[in-house]
């Protein structure tokens, strides 16, 4: 099929960017979106141009590197997928596709579609862990039984791949879904409860410092999340945070 691409090009973090038009032909519908981008880049390079920079690595939807805002949605029109898992069969011959980077003040653009998401790392560094040493000399793994429901919920929260789609799609650039998933994963487990109070306070503080917006419960993040992380966790984060603030 033939496609008309409108891609955000920006040389580096300092220069201003703009949308540039490209045409591409002979795209198979079995290709993944990134393979379509590979074809485009090959063409650009052979014509002496600078290929479109984009983040990608595992190409199986788990590393969270890929981050394209396609036709107004992060990871494109399909649900429950990352950009690398999006296939061209979701588009029609002759379609125009807008491809932009994930936009947020907290995610400065590095080049073209590549953004800097280290804000997420810093939020995790503020408390997204359980403070135990790594000697292996802890309790036997089966000493504390964990209710299956909570273990499953903690797992569901932990499936977050840190791609930033929630921030990208939120009209406020809020990182609440990301933070709530991490906070909830730990607070649902007995091992994580010990530090729950400090953790939630510190992580939210860091989240605010990074310049993300406020959550207004539109729910877009959940819909666009490639792992379908539930809004429940945001509700949980709210109460945990309130409780923790009252405690300290």
């Amino acid at each position: 099929m033939k496609l008309f691409l409108k891609i955000w090009r920006q040389k580096d973090s300092k220069e201003k960017g703009k949308i540039v038009n490209y045409e591409i032909d002979k795209i198979s519908e079995d290709m993944s979106f990134l393979e379509m981008m590979d074809v485009l880049n090959e063409k650009i390079v052979l014509n002496g141009g600078d290929p479109v920079a984009f983040d990608h690595d595992c190409r199986e939807g788990i590393c969270g590197s890929c981050s394209m805002f396609i036709n107004g949605e992060p990871h494109g029109p399909d649900r429950g997928v990352t950009t690398c898992q999006l296939h061209m069969r979701k588009f029609k011959d002759g379609d125009t596709i807008y491809i932009e980077p994930f936009r947020s003040r907290a995610f400065p653009i590095i080049k073209d579609l590549v953004v800097d998401r280290t804000a997420f790392d810093r939020i995790q560094q503020a408390g997204g862990y359980i403070s135990i040493n790594t000697s292996g000399n802890t309790l036997d793994a089966n000493t504390i039984p964990i209710e299956k429901e909570n273990a499953d919920k903690a797992f569901d929260a932990a499936t977050c791949i840190g791609c930033g789609a929630c921030v990208a799609t939120c009209k406020n650039s809020s990182a609440m879904l990301f933070v709530s998933a991490k906070v909830s994963q730990f607070s649902l487990l007995p091992q994580g409860k010990v530090e729950a109070t400090d953790r939630v306070l510190n992580m939210v503080k860091q989240m605010d410092l990074e310049g993300f917006g406020n959550c207004t419960n539109t729910g877009a993040c959940h819909v666009e999340c490639p792992k379908g992380i539930s809004l429940d966790y945001i509700a949980k984060l709210n109460t945990e945070y309130a409780k923790a603030s009252l405690k300290k």
Partner: protein, 220 residues
């Protein structure tokens, strides 16, 4: 402690939710009193007179209410300003409609319409009332309320404007109520129930207000 809470994004979000719910309670009360005007002049007059003259209502609840309204609006605008700042460059294409309800994305718009409506509403009812009571010191008349109310709804343009505002109120409430409870941490386990309640409340109350306005316009 509280200061810290309300300095954070989540704290402000909870404050919005709490003030919102407070306003919803007021709105419910306002509606319940107003609806009596449809079927009983005397009950309405009695209730209005009680609310208008009871010192607890006048000097404690009324200032709290005004503070609540001001807080909700000011905080709403501040948050909206911050949220806009969080994305300095906008998307060329943003398909919000594919992942969220329009009402949830345009709370600031519906809120602004409601604010301007409140201006008119204050001008219509509250300012004359304040003048009547505290500036001109007119004599206390327990039976004046119903007929004053009816009089205000004789202008069709005003009725139309009121009704339009109520539509925006509905849009604001439909998301607002559910959103407040989410902010306060209700689990998704109840979310479908809460959504239903939110929808019914958000539609029923403004519809009721519309009905009152139109009823008085038509019946006189």
């Amino acid at each position: 402690m509280l200061k810290k809470l309300f300095n954070s994004s989540i704290g402000r979000k909870i404050a919005m939710a709490l003030s919102g719910i407070f306003l919803i309670v007021f709105l419910t009360q306002h509606f319940l009193i107003n609806i009596t005007s449809v079927f009983s002049d005397s009950l309405f007059n009695w209730l209005s007179h009680f609310m208008g003259t009871n010192p607890l209502v006048q000097f404690v609840l009324q200032p709290i209410l005004i503070a609540g309204v001001l807080f909700h609006f000011v905080m709403g605008f501040i948050l909206d300003y911050q949220n806009r700042k969080a994305r300095p460059v906008n998307y060329a294409v943003f398909s919000g409609s594919k992942n969220s309800l329009m009402v949830s994305r345009y709370m600031i718009l519906s809120g602004t319409v409601i604010l301007s409506f409140l201006g008119l509403h204050f001008y219509d009812f509250w300012i004359p009332e304040m003048e009547y009571k505290y500036i001109e010191f007119k004599p206390d008349d327990p039976n004046r309320y119903h007929h004053e109310l009816v009089e205000k709804f004789q202008d069709p343009i005003k009725v139309v404007f009121y009704c339009i505002s109520f539509v925006f109120l509905a849009l604001h409430l439909v998301h607002g109520l559910a959103s407040s409870t989410q902010s306060l941490g209700t689990s998704n386990r109840y979310s479908s129930l809460i959504k239903k309640i939110s929808y019914s409340f958000g539609i029923f109350i403004p519809l009721g207000f519309c009905f009152i306005a139109i009823y008085h316009f038509l019946s006189h």
